[in-house]
Assembly symmetry: C2
Homo-oligomer: 194 residues x 2
Amino acid sequence: MVTVPRWPEDSRSRLVDAAMSLFGEHGYSGTTVDEIAARAGVTARTFFRHFADKEEVLFADDDTLLPGLLASIAAAPGPIAADALMLHALTTLAAVMQPQRPALVARQRIIDTDVSLTGRELAKQARWQQGVTATLIERGFDPDEAEILSAIGFAIFVRALHAWLADDDGPDLADRIRDALPRARTVLDAVSAR
Amino acid sequence: MVTVPRWPEDSRSRLVDAAMSLFGEHGYSGTTVDEIAARAGVTARTFFRHFADKEEVLFADDDTLLPGLLASIAAAPGPIAADALMLHALTTLAAVMQPQRPALVARQRIIDTDVSLTGRELAKQARWQQGVTATLIERGFDPDEAEILSAIGFAIFVRALHAWLADDDGPDLADRIRDALPRARTVLDAVSAR
DNA sequence: GCACTCATGACAGTTCATGACATCACTCGT
DNA sequence: ACGAGTGATGTCATGAACTGTCATGAGTGC
């Protein structure tokens, strides 16, 4: 019956699954690419054809979310206040991430164990932030203001994201973001008032 | 004769100098640790005794600045508004960095060529931000507010830092930070006003 | 069918990183 | 003085992360 591996059979997703489970069992640095490839039934060379490096297997899926985020900013209707636009974009993103929570929790737990993974995550966030800034500018916002706004928006989003992933029971991600914005506004009012 | 390399002669700083010049000549990834060690007159094994990895040679000095930053926050006199405290701390840090501009420009140029270096820089910034947040909390600020404040402070600082490094002629770093704070406040007022 | 593409395997080679052990100059207590 | 540390370094060996190149074999289109 030789279950002839007739066709690629989606090596890529098998590699992701193998990597996630092995990272969970032996930790990120305790897992070799050879082991991941072996569990996925391919060779290490094939791993590097799908992912530029060992870290990328944890981040490759992220890039599928960015276009949607930018589109939700670009497509938001008519003239709109900056903070309303940001809230709209971030809660839309949150809605996409919500059902993936279990996978995201596992992923975050791995990332938090390794400094270089943390750096990679932050670099990716920085690229997202640049994309958001550019899209805001395209919508006519002042460049400097767009940069500051997206910086604050991401600071709030990341805070809410980490809290959401850490609390097993608690509000949805979108609700956390909705709650965080007025709270941040209160803080900023205090600063502005001097 | 035999100019006996009598003694260590500060291998570490020679390694840093060798690394910086080689990175400038052949780029970061185009330079091997063996080459750096050879130019510094030591072996690669010695390189790794001074620096945990190849990247660290670019970041090791950073850690000498953090204690001063935290001290300037902890030691600022009496009751003080959050934004004034942040301005005080960041301009103090800026004064320390100002004379090192040429070296920092070269370093930044190298970091910007490599994603993993960018990530490492951001991870280091994140650690600094956590330290600032903790120090603000120790001074009695509300934890959530401290986190948001340091996030905004770092966003402003990093913006100013990159602009300062990019403009060969222009205001000092401290002046840029002083100018940026009211500008950010204006933006935030606009958001808060909705 | 026949050429073509594309994912993969196979295999060698480079670089980074680290552990084990030896060496050599200098310091310090006696 | 002198012998036991101490610390920075070198040498050797090894593992793991990549990288280049060529071969193969299944599907695809004409």
